[in-house]
């Protein structure tokens, strides 16, 4: 079956999460992605957790292996003249370059936009930086934690807490900021490809700021503050009880109550206990105010039921309640299994493992793992000899001189 982006040729000189996630999204939907790494140590994600079997090894980082499926891996030392020359040859054959090496990094190597657009006038160069290529913060360092908090997401996580002093603004799990920047870059890249093929075929430079990619997600807060002067609170006091996590027999479930009907349904499922009719629990606001008294009463019923039971009972009544799953529960969740979400991938060094799979399913042009992530320089011969016409016998020399 054809893939949506199989006519795109992408060159990726990027490491960590932002750029490689952009490259993976394009590659998993069909683009050919050639990943260029520095010889010797390669992408820094190779040094990030988790490692298969807890054995730290550049070919065993689960994060790296996840982020680099379907890519061809070559090594090039772009500080050398020959490395730069070979890179330019690759640029000549590419539609897209993904770069997240920092403001001015490519220029310093003599491979900045001004040079590359001459090498390939069709090139779309997507540069992802923490704060953008312009502005007073352009030289500021970022990264997942700093970008997440700078953009406001951290401040609103985890939401309302009892004591804001002991509960600082919180980072969400993993590297959400980095992933959002990479996804935004993928959108921007496809937009530019679309525009270029509609128009005169000329390439362009995409200046993608992680800060803005995150900030863009707060459209609603921006609007609500800007028109209504609504400032989201970090303290619980005085809020209505609409929804929340409730303890049950084997963990927690998320009780989502959009309106009075939902509360009535929930009360009915609990067997219409007498306390539910009391004045102190009569509406959202009262329930919020008296939540510390309400929770133990609800728990008389919830603690006798598992989160799975409550999940299916409530959903049967069209109430959007869901269990709080741990990671193993997600992996073994029947819905995910049925949809074949987790995908077993075999890698020569890391063995077989299940990886999170397609972010969406396309009926005509599927998501596909054509090959596992490359080992460092795995495709040097295929790319440098096959595409650029280097002689096979010269590869050891290129290695010994530190070029590949």
């Amino acid at each position: 079956m054809a893939q949506a982006l199989s006519d795109l040729k992408v060159l990726e000189y990027a490491q960590g999460i932002t750029g490689p996630w952009c490259g993976k999204l394009l590659g998993d939907y069909g683009a050919e992605v050639i990943k260029v790494e520095d010889p010797g140590i390669g992408d820094k994600a190779r040094r990030m957790e988790p490692f298969a079997g807890d054995v730290p090894h550049p070919e065993r980082s689960g994060l790296f292996l996840y982020l680099n499926t379907n890519k061809l891996g070559v090594t090039l030392n772009l500080k050398t003249a020959t490395g730069q020359r070979l890179f330019q040859e690759l640029i000549r054959q590419a539609d897209v370059l993904i770069d997240n090496n920092g403001v001015g990094a490519m220029d310093k190597l003599g491979l900045g936009w001004k040079t590359l657009k001459k090498v390939n006038p069709r090139l779309i160069m997507a540069t992802i930086t923490p704060f953008g290529l312009t502005g007073p913060w352009k030289k500021y360092k970022g990264g997942n934690l700093v970008n997440l908090h700078a953009s406001g997401q951290g401040f609103m996580t985890p939401g309302q807490v009892e004591d804001p002093e002991s509960h600082p603004p919180l980072k969400t799990a993993g590297h959400q900021a980095d992933f959002m920047a990479g996804l935004t870059a993928a959108i921007c890249t496809l937009t530019a490809v679309f525009a270029s093929r509609l128009g005169n075929g000329k390439g362009e430079r995409l200046d993608i700021s992680e800060h803005e990619a995150l900030a863009f997600q707060w459209a609603r807060d921006i609007a609500m503050y800007s028109w209504d002067k609504t400032i989201p609170k970090r303290t619980k006091a005085g809020l209505a009880m609409t929804s929340g996590l409730v303890p049950c027999k084997d963990g927690f479930f998320y009780l989502h109550l959009r309106d009075a009907r939902h509360w009535d349904t929930y009360v009915k499922l609990m067997g219409n206990p007498a306390w539910a009719k009391e004045e102190r629990f009569k509406d959202d606001l009262s329930r919020g105010k008296n939540y510390s008294e309400l929770e133990p009463l609800m728990m008389e019923w919830t603690m006798r039921h598992s989160k799975d039971e409550i999940y299916h009972l409530m959903q049967g009544e069209k109430v959007a309640t869901m269990p709080l799953f741990t990671v193993p529960e997600v992996v073994n969740y029947r819905q995910m299994e049925e949809r074949g979400f987790f995908t077993a991938i075999k890698h020569p060094m890391a063995g077989v493992a299940k990886y999170p799979g397609a972010p969406f399913k396309m009926s005509a042009t599927p998501w596909k793992i054509r090959r596992p992530a490359p080992t460092l320089g795995q495709h040097n011969q295929e790319v440098l000899c096959g595409r650029l016409g280097c002689k096979k016998e010269n590869l050891p020399k290129l290695r010994a001189t530190g070029i590949i």
Binding site: P50, V146, G174, I187, D228, K318, T326, A353, Y355, M362
Partner: protein, 406 residues
């Protein structure tokens, strides 16, 4: 003005709340004509949020709704009425994309599922967004961002180290945001393919799956090593100091991330604490990580004396990553976002002037996106039913009276 990339693309947008509308907001920013198809029988929850609008029942005063609808059009169709479904099909015939986020099965019951629609519009691209996907035993279950945070494992991993009770994660609709953004990517990929081959297709986007895709590390730690991770708070797996520190001012905080030994040395110099640099407990990243609680106490002693902006400036000048943990007020004053013209003033009838964000990138000399006002309920009924579908004024009048256009 040069044309926007998606000019000429028309979207029939049946989506509601955030995960769906936000994806179509991307499309509108990029130049597509997005027509929201709404009904008074089930108005978007976000339209019903009162805020400062009080009890105004016109559904046109909620800024939260406009946030995901700038530049879109709105027409009304009461899809419980068969005639309305026929009209919807008429609109879809003229569209390139249909987007919906009803519970799986709902569009089919209306006869508006992909298999039916492709018969009237063979190269149609349809994006169906749902909590758990279009297939599988639990496909029809109702979901919101907060419930998906729980179901996807995200809540079990986001929290304060040492605490047992997971936070509810209600204030940030992250799962909606990332699903919407993923949806925009999916549509662009499908449009790219259609331009090449003329073929449309159906996209099945699950919030739960898109959310897991953004969080592979703990899943791989489990599938590779059998480990179940807990809360790490603001900490990093290896770097320290790495956290959010209390500053001067009410509920003011700064995020600091020292990523290597060189930055640590710079950090000690910049804060005037050279004695920390020579402390063997903090000699390298590994030692610092093992002593991060002691370290955090020391760092806080310093940050507490300054406002977040001062800390940020001092540290960034020394080459250390730091930024205020911005609340909405700080955020709208952010000098970097201002300098890059990230915000744009919008005149939004009937609620007046306010601020909106433009697209999060700069695309050389071309226009980066549009920010026109969002639509009032049914504002474009005449455009849609008369200009596009060619109905007469009388017909439209009657359909409104019959609550078909409603």
């Amino acid at each position: 003005m040069k044309r926007l990339p998606l000019e000429g693309i028309r979207v029939a947008d049946f989506t509601r709340i955030q995960a769906g509308p936000q994806a179509q907001a991307w499309m509108a920013h990029l130049g597509a004509e997005v027509i929201r198809i709404e009904s008074h029988t089930a108005a978007d929850t976000l339209r019903q949020m009162r805020g400062a609008a009080g009890e105004d029942r016109t559904l046109n005063r909620a800024p939260g709704f406009y946030a995901f609808s700038f530049g879109k059009k709105s027409c009304n169709l009461n899809l419980r009425h068969p005639r309305a479904v026929e009209l919807a099909k008429g609109i879809i015939k003229t569209c390139d994309v249909v987007a919906e986020n009803y519970a799986p099965g709902a569009m089919e019951r209306l006869g508006l599922d992909y298999q039916s629609l492709r018969k009237i519009k063979p190269n149609l691209i349809m994006l169906s967004t749902s909590g758990l996907g279009q297939t599988g035993p639990d496909a029809g279950y109702a979901a919101y961002a907060a419930t998906i945070h729980a179901l996807s494992g995200f809540s079990s991993l986001t929290g304060y180290p040492g605490e047992e009770r997971p936070p509810a994660l209600m204030a940030m609709m992250w799962s909606d945001a990332l699903t919407a953004t993923t949806g925009a990517f999916a549509l662009l990929a499908a449009l790219h393919y259609r331009k090449r081959t003329g073929q449309g297709q159906h996209i099945d986007l699950s919030m739960n799956e898109a959310t897991v895709d953004f969080l592979p590390e703990p899943f791989l730690d489990y599938t590779m090593n059998g480990r179940v991770r807990g809360f790490v708070g603001n900490r990093d797996e290896a770097a320290a100091p790495h956290g959010v520190y209390r500053c001067q001012g009410e509920d003011k905080w700064v995020a600091i991330a020292v990523s290597d030994d060189q930055e640590w040395q710079a950090f000690c110099r910049a804060t005037g604490h050279s004695e920390w640099a020579s402390d063997p407990r903090f000699a390298d990243a590994y030692s610092r990580w093992h002593h991060q609680e002691e370290l955090d106490v020391l760092v806080t002693q310093w940050t507490k004396k300054h406002i977040p902006q001062e800390v940020t400036e001092v540290l960034q000048r020394a080459g250390v990553a730091a930024a205020p943990s911005a609340n909405i007020v700080d955020f709208l004053a952010d000098p970097q976002l201002r300098a890059r013209n990230f915000f744009m003033e919008v005149e939004q009838p009937p609620i007046g002037k306010g601020t909106a964000a433009v697209v999060p990138w700069k695309l050389g000399p071309k226009p980066d996106g549009v920010r026109k006002a969002g639509p009032n309920m049914g504002e474009h009924n005449h455009y849609v039913f008369h200009d596009i579908l060619g109905l007469s004024e009388e017909e439209i009048e009657k359909l409104i009276k019959d609550q078909v256009i409603y």
